[in-house]
Assembly symmetry: C2
Homo-oligomer: 416 residues x 2
DNA sequence: CTGCCGGATCTCAGTCACTGATGCCCCTAG
DNA sequence: CTAGGGGCATCAGTGACTGAGATCCGGCAG
């Protein structure tokens, strides 16, 4: 029920805040190291004195967030004690409420999936669906066998415009019955867990920072390839949510001046020319896919898109052309964002990413580099996420971990 | 000579950092209040105890950054002592190196211009120009009569791609001889002042946060209408510089699918369809302006653009149509940025802004609202900057003030 | 004119996180 | 087996924030 958003008159900080912040800094350093870190190494990395590191390590050990994992001795002297994250130190539950499917995960402190499940999104009354979700969470937690007391909270990733104050979605195109339903409150009550709601693309970006390894550090844009295309933005290791939590809307960037007319009045927006549904329709129009079976609901599109990719993989030139073109168009949209924000990396992911990856990774890097306004100063890395298809739900769970354990500047400031 | 950029492995914080940070927080609160603040009010706003406020106030008074300015007694009890910024407590020098003109300002702590001057940008050797700039700064400071010891530093705003490490511009389209000239080092040595270099659009955004009053708070995009169009980005009171300081490049956002072909290969980019030079050319083509006098250098374009606006002001329908259309196109570009970042405000400014303001303010707000993805959650304020035409140079000076006195999260972290 | 009262600010310890110096512990090398 | 070196803990010490109480200042009633 805690608020994600940031208050504007900037507030001061004090001693306890500082201590908590340093704790998260150290935890983050350990988390981002591949094989654990010794106290001396930590002192060097975070710039605090060895004594402080020792004290904070003790607190972390007491809280069971880290464990001492063996020693590493090279040369003379006492070998270093390696500190590692304790996977079982904390868990979080994530739910991705997508128009087509609801995904559930239980994540451990490392960001690894302990247990996951899915269900088709019921079309019925939201209140009923919320009850089902709560039951499903209950069941999942029990099956996973994790200590319920160690579950820090529940994260919920939802599409489209959200209202952070209400913890609700606002007029989502494909979840019309959910308009302004107070999901956060309802699920907090139904599950008894502290609950956070955020956009799916933002959640995906948070997943990358938490569970994505090296590609989740620094400043990057996460391109979420789902039913729609959106992006999550991370600058200097902190996710950008925007004033109301709605950052990342890029559906109306024009990428194809000769493209189809969009409902916004312009031609060739991302939304009208590169989302999977449009690609499938193009393929049908071109005769690559059988056009007789229609149906624009989520799973249907995913299935047909997979068919399109199968054909392309098998060498069908028209299919390849469609995917190549979409890569070109998406690259243009990405360029707009990367040039505006000057990030160092673009991470692709989302449910449709897996199949399109080879086509995109072949073309996008070159196109981005060509359009990179800071080309002479630094390159632009392009990678696919290591988090996988469930990045929405995993990100939802990571919202909780991020909120509790990430060294956000916000954590230092006194609250209102 | 200090580095603006942020190191990536996040570092811890300690006691002295905390004290300095709180000092800047209090200074910022006083700065943002209209008529000064008492100690009790400060305690409420920043969340620190009255005692801490007292201690920090004393430090600020010792440093002469603030002054006690009268008392405010209403009702019984000891009247509150009002604390106000001391304009003479600190000064900064700003230089805007534009392809057409170099602008100089001396700013006081309030962000008010103490003295300013200009010169046409000499075409010669950069080394010689740097000497002239240093002389000009010297002269300006002497004429202004401010205490040289109170000058905190020199800010330099430059166009186009920059290299923050070098403190140089990289292949700027209109300052070709300045490619990779180490401006920061050269000017620091020539003037003896601590020097910061940043992009002009970023500087303009910083000017807005420092000298722009209420419209410089929170999250906003500063649209800089100059020879080119770029934007400065401020999120939660902190300016976004990007990985290499090159954030804000929006020249290749497609805003007019039927527009002219751009060198990037697409049609109707911002750069090819709404910059003043293009509008002037359009006006010439349409016969609104006399097309015989050509010349694409800076002052020439500004003059011809002023003519175009004169005609529009006088009721020339073709001229009005050209300006209206450009407002529509720019609004589309702004929408792309505001939707991606979910800011609460758009601030327009820059050398060309004054003349176009009425046409833009008439159309842009409506268009932005229509395209606002978060329309149902919050509105989008559109304002013209209060900083004026010299926003580039003023922003350059504000870079120094911001670097020394703004409560940036970065200030808390230990350095490498 | 004087005393009372309320509110703002200051004084004085007290607490707590980080730091520096010192010493113990553990391992490798000779 | 011993010397030596590096890792880590212990013990004061510093300094920023906090809480309680004292002090100061002006208005108001008598």
């Amino acid at each position: 029920m805690t608020e994600i958003r940031q208050p504007t008159p900037r507030r001061g900080t004090n001693l306890p805040r500082m201590g908590d912040f340093n704790l998260t800094v150290i935890l983050e350093a350990i988390r981002r190291s591949s094989g654990g870190l010794s106290r001396v190494e930590l002192a060097q990395i975070v710039g605090l004195s060895p004594q402080t590191i020792s004290n904070i390590s003790r607190r972390l050990l007491d809280q069971q967030l880290i464990v001492e994992a063996g020693k590493e001795g090279s040369g003379p002297g006492k070998p270093r004690t390696i500190l590692r994250l304790n996977p079982a130190g904390m868990y979080a539950v994530g739910v991705h409420l997508d128009p087509a499917v609801i995904t559930f995960v239980v994540l451990d402190l490392l960001g690894d999936v302990v247990k996951h499940s899915r269900m088709a999104t019921p079309g019925g009354d939201p209140a009923g669906v919320i009850t089902s979700i709560a039951e499903q969470i209950q069941a999942l937690v029990e099956e996973s066998g994790v200590d319920a007391a160690k579950i820090a909270g529940l994260g919920v990733a939802v599409p489209g415009p959200i209202d952070l104050d209400e913890g609700s979605v606002v007029e989502p195109p494909l979840l019309t019955r959910w308009n302004r339903v107070r999901i956060r409150e309802a699920l907090a009550e139904a599950t008894g867990l502290e609950t956070l709601v955020d956009k799916d693309v933002t959640s995906a970006a948070v997943a990358e920072t938490w569970a994505g390894g090296a590609s989740g550090a620094g400043s990057f844009v996460f391109m979420y390839m789902g039913t729609g295309i959106g992006c999550g933005i991370v600058l200097n290791d902190e996710v950008v949510r925007g004033t109301s939590g709605n950052a990342g809307e890029i559906g109306h960037i024009v990428v194809d001046p000769e493209g189809p007319l969009c409902d916004c009045g312009l031609s060739g927006c991302v939304k009208s020319s590169c989302i999977p549904q449009v690609l499938v329709a193009e393929a049908e129009a071109a005769g690559v896919l059988d056009g007789s079976r229609h149906g624009a609901d989520g799973p249907e599109v995913q299935e047909r898109f997979a068919e399109l990719c199968d054909k392309a993989d098998a060498g069908d030139e028209q299919a390849i052309a469609i995917l190549d073109k979409s890569a070109t168009l998406v690259a243009r949209a990405v360029s707009v964002v990367t040039n505006a924000l000057d990030v160092e990396r673009v991470v692709f992911g989302g449910p449709f990413w897996g199949r399109m990856a080879p086509y995109f990774l072949d073309r996008v890097p070159g196109l981005l580099d060509k359009n990179n306004a800071a080309r002479m100063i630094h390159g632009l890395e392009v990678v696919g996420t290591g988090v996988g298809e469930d990045v929405g739900a995993i990100g939802a769970a990571c919202l909780v971990l991020e909120h509790m354990l990430a060294p956000r500047a916000q954590r230092l400031l006194l609250e209102g």
